[in-house]
């Protein structure tokens, strides 16, 4: 990891839902090409944090700069930001009225103004990369959960984003489908794209993460390399968490 300017930089972010404070004084810095895995108990603010990066939620205090664009509510650059940042959701959020191919091409055609045949060619290549080229003409409801999630990843790939956010991408899947999605994500990690991934798949984290972050109660409690994180966690809270999820 080289020390270039960070592609995602946050300083002292706070986020409130009414009186509940979801993020407390979050500061972080992520380099281009870095692969970050965020874990922590539910309700700890992991999802809120990555949704702030994509401007699906807005922080209430602090400064957040993503790919040179400052994120704040009402910014005219939000769309430009979202074009650079792909997002894969826990519930896939595919468009059920469009075929798989149309799901992939609607962004490039309508947002990037690409022509249809180029977009379709690129979309088929993306489907190739997630190992389901044969499903292009089907509708999302005809696919298994794992296939739907891979389509969702391909949809982000088609936008040729520089940053990909994953919000618990395997949590809604049947156990036997988790690996097919993780395989795709491992391949993706090798392409040099910046990845920020909220997940509890510790095997995956160990394999691809450059940096592990542990969140609890709206704060980043621990940051470190996977090696250090898994073998010698510094804080007690983190040790307890790892014991809980690694014991089985």
């Amino acid at each position: 990891m080289t020390n270039k300017t960070p592609i995602i930089e946050a300083a002292n972010l706070d986020k409130f839902y009414g009186k509940f404070q979801a993020l407390k004084d979050i500061s972080l810095s992520i380099q281009a090409g870095e692969r970050v895995v965020i874990c922590g108990p539910s309700g700890s603010g992991k999802s809120t944090l990555i949704r702030c990066i994509n401007a699906l939620e807005y922080h209430n205090a602090g400064k957040l700069v993503v790919d040179g664009i400052e994120v704040y509510e009402g910014s005219r650059q939000i769309r430009k930001l979202r074009e650079q940042v792909g997002m894969v959701f826990q519930q896939f959020n595919l468009f059920p009225h469009l075929s798989v191919l149309e799901n992939l091409t609607i962004g490039p055609i309508r947002v990037r103004k690409m022509n249809k045949s180029d977009a379709e060619k690129a979309a088929r290549e993306c489907l190739e990369r997630v190992h389901i080229p044969e499903q292009a003409e089907k509708f999302p409801s005809q696919l298994s959960g794992g296939q739907q999630q891979r389509v969702a990843i391909a949809r982000s790939l088609c936008m040729e984003n520089r940053i990909m956010l994953f919000d618990e991408p395997t949590s809604a899947l049947d156990p036997e489908m988790i690996n097919e999605v993780l395989d795709v994500m491992v391949n993706l990690a090798d392409t040099g794209i910046t990845m920020v991934c909220v997940t509890h798949e510790m095997g995956f984290a160990r394999k691809v993460a450059d940096t592990m972050m542990f969140m609890d109660n709206g704060q980043i409690i621990e940051t470190g390399t996977p090696e250090q994180f898994f073998t010698a966690p510094k804080t007690e809270r983190c040790q307890a968490f790892l014991q809980q999820i690694l014991v089985h």
Binding site: L56, R79, N93, L94, H97, R110
Partner: protein
């Protein structure tokens, strides 16, 4: 013995409920009820000495004389009703969409305007609204009775339709918006390519209902003498005193039109089903 003999037999419903639920019995009960109503109407009119003159009705649909084929008054009135309803429905859809989008927008002014419009229109009798448009706004803006009727019906049903649109749009899960936003779509692109195409299947059934309502409530403009179906019916009766025959006929014409509409839309609904 065959295999099924070993299986546990599912208990049956009591005999009387099976008899009542069977199709032939249902049909018999239905025919009996209809028969009683028809007979009551017939004997009732007999006892008041009503002189049925059904043979005089067809000429109000069409005549075929030496001059050739001519549409009758009821046919002309029906066309006027359909024209009025169609124009008012178009206007209502436009008003409905604008009001729904205003209501859902993040602009405080927009949602306030929409809410006030809705409350005013929904809490006023249609007849009063029509008088307002014809007797108050009519002279001010120089509206003829047909235009005033279109605008009145368009505004009234526009309020209803805006609620249908709003419900249809709200029925789309938030994840669809987030998916659309995450690939960089603007709000209007998200509406156009992602949300509205999916909302249509939620909107079509209640919209059909509203179109049927529109045709029915268009009868109210007979009070300002727009020459549509109901007005024509009243005129014919004042000439002929055949109130039973003509009102039965007019009712049947409305019924046939709205039924055709409902059946037609059920085909369109099948087209917009998401699971293909």
């Amino acid at each position: 013995m065959n295999q099924t003999a070993y299986k546990y037999a599912i208990p049956k419903a009591p005999l009387w409920s099976r008899v009542f639920a069977s199709t032939p019995v249902s049909v018999l009960i239905y025919l009996f009820v209809v028969g009683v109503i028809v007979r009551a109407a017939y004997t009732g009119s007999q006892s008041m000495g009503y002189n049925w003159q059904w043979y005089r009705v067809p000429k109000y649909f069409y005549t075929f004389t030496d001059d050739g084929f001519q549409w009758g008054e009821i046919a002309i009135g029906l066309v006027k009703t359909l024209e009025l309803s169609a124009l008012a429905f178009l206007l209502a859809v436009v008003i409905g969409l604008v009001v729904a989008l205003l209501r859902l927008s993040e602009l405080l002014v927009g949602s306030a305007i929409a809410a006030v419009f809705l409350e005013i229109v929904r809490n006023m009798p249609l007849l009063v609204l029509l008088y307002l448009f014809y007797y108050v706004l009519g002279p001010i803006f120089d509206l003829d009775r047909f235009t005033a009727s279109i605008i009145c019906l368009g505004v009234y049903h526009g309020a209803m339709i805006s609620e249908i649109f709003r419900a249809g749009i709200n029925a789309i899960p938030a994840g669809q918006w987030e998916g659309a936003k995450s690939i960089g779509m603007t709000t209007s692109q998200s509406y156009r390519y992602i949300v509205l195409p999916q909302s249509i299947r939620f909107m079509l059934p209640p919209l059909t209902g509203e179109a049927v309502n529109m045709i029915k409530s268009s009868a109210i403009v007979s009070v300002i003498a727009v020459a549509e179906l109901t007005t024509i019916g009243r005129n014919i009766i004042s000439d002929t005193y055949m109130s039973f025959e003509i009102w039965f006929t007019i009712a049947l014409v409305y019924l046939v039109v709205t039924l055709i509409l409902s059946i037609g839309i059920s085909y369109v609904e099948r087209y917009y089903e998401v699971e293909k």
